[in-house]
Subunit: 535 residues, 2 copies
């Protein structure tokens, strides 16, 4: 029997038909329906895809927020044999156009507020035949061949039967948003998504169950929202979707009002929520955990959530290539009875491989680094659910070695096998022949009460080749001095690790997915240091 996304949807719909999917609407209201309705609408939609020229095997793009309609597309498209291609709506126009053309999408499903993006690039898009607006009717638009999503649903057949598909059939697609070069496409098969889902739901991974109420703040255009829509359907868990432009106050209100048990978001959102909670507290007693990802969660943030709300932060590690999870924090049986605050040193690390994942940390000669928490190497990983190539892309040759993905992430490994991400290979600072981790310095800086955000990059240096330079965004109203920041770091690091410069700035440049854009910083750091010396 073939592994198939259909099995995930049908379990939720058949055995938990009354469990809810709740969506925050643009007007602040809530849309609620059940798995029974989700399932019916997914079948209705699937039955109408042929009518808009979408055929099995086609890539079909979504440009959309986390809503019930996007949730329907997660199942209707792959179960009908199409490839769900989630496009990152934060990318630059030219990257979106590149992606739509490179994947040769035959249609785009788009939220109404994102139509202007498509209107701007309409002239460059080569393969899209139909635009479907995720709404009851088509708003005024310069696009042609536009239909309303609800018209398709209304005309659809709820008795439409999904085919049995071979498990290697492509089901999903996502482009990584590199800081350099063009985006790279990754294709997920039904098998990949099925295996990732079951693995992710394990008690020793994210422990997703029917009793959960899941709030994926992580966008559905970003690595399948870390797989949570599929996990939810399979287990029949209640789902809360934060809709258009989610922000910390709205997310926290949803958590409180819908009794969310598990949320997943970027670390920056976790920090925003902390700031908001300090302003206005919420009842978070239903929460069993918040998964934060995309970058390292500072220990201070973990301590805050534990102390104030008894909520542990869950760290995992993965990537678009990995569907996306490969590792997850694990609290060992010997440590279970310790106070939760003592788990923080484990929780800020990247955990151990999920069942099924194989992981190696290799030095420059290709040998496994010793598990001494000191030696640093690059993570190579393969899993039964992850990509082994980029879609029609010559960069596959460098990205994958013997079936292992070459992650570009540098890590140490503790004696018991737990990863500690040190840096991106290209962000490590090599000063006088020794490695300095920008991430470690950033985490220490961010723990300073006057610091809201920090980024450390290599500045060119005549003597040492590279020296660390710190960019710091202060807390509102605060003005940390260079001496103050240096004194803060001094007891924590060897002297030669300490940045030579501390640049206090209003904002740090970000990439399309909200990560610090270190490439941009590296390009401007020399000039910034010069200007700061002149100021």
């Amino acid at each position: 029997m073939e592994l198939n996304i259909r099995l995930l949807l049908e379990r939720g719909a058949r055995y938990f038909p009354d469990n809810e999917i709740v969506t925050r609407l643009p007007d602040g209201g809530l849309h609620r329906y059940t798995y029974r309705v989700l399932n019916e609408r997914a079948h209705r939609l699937a039955s109408r895809l042929a009518s808009i020229g979408v055929r099995p095997g086609d890539r079909v793009a979504t440009l959309a927020w986390n809503t019930y309609r996007h949730f329907e597309l997660y199942f209707a498209l792959p179960c009908a044999g199409m490839v769900l291609h989630t496009v990152n709506l934060r990318l630059a126009d030219e990257h979106i156009a590149y992606i739509l053309n490179h994947s040769e999408d035959s249609a785009v499903f788009v939220d109404p507020d994102l139509l202007p993006t498509l209107e701007r690039i309409a002239g460059q898009i080569r393969t899209v035949r139909t635009f479907v607006v995720l709404a009851g009717q088509v708003p005024a638009t310069t696009l042609r061949n536009v239909v309303a999503y609800e018209d398709l649903i209304a005309a659809g057949d709820p008795g439409f039967a999904f085919n049995e598909l071979p498990e290697r059939t492509p089901a999903g697609m996502c482009y990584t948003s590199a800081t350099t070069g063009l985006p790279k496409g990754v294709v997920y098969s039904h098998r990949d998504i099925y295996l990732h889902t079951i693995t992710e739901c394990l008690g020793d991974v994210l422990d997703v169950r029917e009793r959960d109420t899941l709030l994926p703040v992580v966008p559905m255009f970003h690595a399948n929202a870390w797989g949570l829509p599929f996990a939810a359907a399979c287990m029949g868990a209640k789902v809360v979707l934060p809709g258009e432009r989610p922000h910390a106050p709205a997310i926290l209100d949803l958590m409180q009002d819908e009794r969310v048990t598990f949320a997943a978001a970027a670390v920056s959102i976790g920090i925003d929520m902390m700031t908001e909670l300090k302003r206005q507290r919420r009842d978070l007693s239903s929460l069993r955990g918040i998964m934060l990802g995309g970058s390292a969660t500072p220990a201070a943030v973990m301590e805050y959530y534990l102390r104030e709300f008894n909520v542990p932060i869950i760290t995992a590690w993965g990537s678009t290539e990995m569907t996306p999870l490969a590792t997850c924090v694990h609290i060992r049986r010997a440590d279970l009875d310790k106070p939760p605050t003592e788990h923080i040193p484990t929780r800020i690390r990247q955990g151990i491989p999920c069942p099924g994942a194989e992981l190696k940390v290799l030095d420059e000669e290709g040998g496994e680094v010793p598990w001494d928490d000191q030696s640093i190497g690059e993570i190579y990983v393969r899993t039964p659910w992850s990509a082994t190539e980029y879609y029609h892309d010559a960069r596959s040759r460098d990205g994958f070695v013997d079936g292992f993905w070459k992650s570009g992430d540098m890590s140490a490994v503790s004696a018991d096998g737990v990863l500690r991400l040190v840096d991106r290979a290209k962000d490590l600072i090599k000063s006088g022949g020794e490695w300095i981790s920008s991430v470690d310095l950033e985490n220490a800086l961010i723990a300073h009460p006057k610091v809201r955000e920090a980024a450390v990059v290599a500045a060119p240096d005549a003597k040492w080749l590279e020296r660390p330079c710190a960019y710091v965004v202060p807390e509102p109203g605060a003005a940390p001095s260079q001496a103050e920041l240096r004194a803060w770091l001094e007891p924590k690091f060897a002297k030669w690790w300490l940045p030579d410069h501390y640049l206090v700035v209003d904002a740090i440049p970000k990439t399309g997915v909200g990560k610090i854009n270190k490439r941009a910083l590296r390009e401007q750091v020399e000039q910034d240091i010069r200007q700061s010396a002149n100021a």
Copy 2:
């Protein structure tokens, strides 16, 4: 990347090398070692298989209790490319000989106390080249070509590398012990066992984690001990193995002393343990659940464990063909806050399909029965991890229909999709054109304080064609009367369901796996009724 048992073993060994595997020895002492040692010994053994004429692809039999050596074979044989063929040591000699010949095993690994079985059938075994005694040395035996297991281990290479195997490679094999006809063989691939393991470990299935201490009382020769050895290794859970001829007092001592969190056993063992606990209480505070299977657990037994030890009984349903799990009890989110005793009506049912399993209950015309808890049909089931045929056996044609296994189990389905097993198709009693469930009557009888065991079978009847007859084994010292038993059942059933005869007996005949042998009872029931009338 191929799904593989190697991945399960290596995760436990690499990330939880110090977690323990504990075995009860014949002298009552305990053998303890760790996953590190298990892994090393599995590699050593694998390296020596060629030396005893065992080649990749060979079926290799085990005739053994639940011990660490059997646990090693669970991994060494399939990871080295052989098929782990666990033979039910309780079968009749002629069935064991049939099974060894039918599967063409090239070697047998046998516990020393089971050598006499092989000695008796040595003349009939055609393909076995080597007997390996699971001991430090070979005892006196009439068998030829016998080697000691520990000699293989001692000479083995701990650095032996397991090959990467295609996931459809056969890994395991088990024969069902039918009450009629010859045993039927089922082959499990690496993929089957991997998928079953991951599914079984889910929070909404058995919830196996590293923090667990698992006690599989269910024999390792019976449907992979319900998959628990594989689940344990993958998660790195501690394992407690009850060794040779486990009995209730020894099992309970292990539970208490090793702080077992999850045990799995036949219902009859669960009842024996209850009797023993009433005699001598144990500290079972570490237990989170006991999975009982093989037949229905009476509500009275569930109530006892909940009331006295706060331990829920976990019910699942499956078969040798299903690797073995297909369904599992599920307590819905809406019911979680209810008192555990209110979960018992759900817990005595057979649950809902595990993620990935597809299940239909079909009437005689092949239509799905309504979910009204009244209509009865036969369960058809398929999963991504279960067999689709019997090994070299023409009976596959009748056993599997369109990829679904035709279970022979009759079930009703509640409005929310929960199975309620009514009877084996062949054990249902058809009286005057209406169905009577032998299982329902047995469960009611067993709840009577004077009744220890009960079996209800169809007796031929001139007027109604079949009428129910009850066999009853009394509690020690008790002597329930026919009138007393009838009065007990009267308020619970329609009058025409009540057995016409109640035969109090010392013992009820059992099959090789300890189930009630209804076929034997049906053959003798007319005569038994006659004798009872004459007594």
